[in-house]
């Protein structure tokens, strides 16, 4: 059984529309509000990378507006808050891993039974340091100057 011609026409129209929209979206031709909304939604899901990507698309073909500038500041602020939290935890880890010699923690760290725990904390510290670096790069990418179209 062959589907009706009108159905095939609808399918084809839908496909062309979807493919066209997909390309328009990828290249930043959709209305700026679309990208800002997507950026804010990504932020809600804690997907900072996607938020930055959508913000960048929002100003790729359109001039920055007050709304896009606000979105940029909100994303930048969210990244800074995340960095701040990580740095807080890094400071805590630093205090445990490298305490002053006159503190009790310093002498506790010398005990062999504490070595595995310290190794674990060191790995955690390295992970957080890497996360901070990634977030800083992301913020730099967000804040780099946009070319006016």
């Amino acid at each position: 059984m062959v589907p009706a011609l009108s159905f095939l026409t609808k399918v084809l129209t839908g496909l062309v529309a979807a493919a066209g929209l997909d390309q328009l979206t990828k290249h930043g031709f959709m209305p700026q509000a679309n990208y800002i909304k997507a950026a804010v939604k990504a932020l809600e899901k804690d997907d900072l990378d996607e938020a930055v990507r959508n913000y960048k698309l929002s100003v790729k073909k359109w001039r920055p507006t007050q709304r896009s500038e606000v979105a940029k500041e909100i994303i930048s602020s969210a990244i800074s808050l995340r960095i701040g939290k990580l740095q807080g935890r890094l400071a805590e880890l630093e205090a445990v891993l490298h305490p002053p010699w006159y503190s009790l923690q310093y002498w506790r760290n010398l005990l062999p039974k504490n070595r595995p725990k310290l190794e674990e904390l060191k790995r955690e510290q390295e992970g957080f340091q890497e996360a901070v670096r990634v977030l800083e790069n992301m913020r730099a990418k967000l804040l780099e100057d946009e070319k006016t179209p």
Binding site: M1, L15, Q66, E69, A78
Partner: protein, 98 residues
């Protein structure tokens, strides 16, 4: 009676063939063509609701910054937020008519 059965059978077969074609095309192209059509109306809706989304996102940032509901922040905290996020604060003042 037989005409009804024939029509129903033809309709059912057509529906199944259409469904198979739709699913086949989706799996080949990776595109949902029905969504494609809805995306146009979606973009119009997005433009209408983006302001509310921005207010909510700013509120979440305030909540994370001060650890409390934006409605409960003090004048000093608001000034601090304003200093760090001048454009957002100005926009919020306009949007919320503070």
């Amino acid at each position: 009676m037989s005409k009804i059965v024939k029509t129903t059978a033809a309709g059912g077969a057509g529906f199944l063939a259409g469904l198979l074609l739709e699913k086949g095309l989706e799996s080949i192209t990776g595109l949902d063509f029905v969504d494609g059509l809805f995306a146009v109306s979606g973009s119009i809706l997005a433009a209408l609701s983006v302001n509310r989304d921005l207010v909510e996102a700013a509120a979440r940032n305030i909540e994370q910054m001060f650890g409390k509901d934006p409605l409960d922040i003090t004048e000093a905290e608001w000034r601090q937020f304003k200093e760090m996020n001048p454009k957002t604060a100005e926009w919020l003042e306009k949007a919320l008519k503070i």
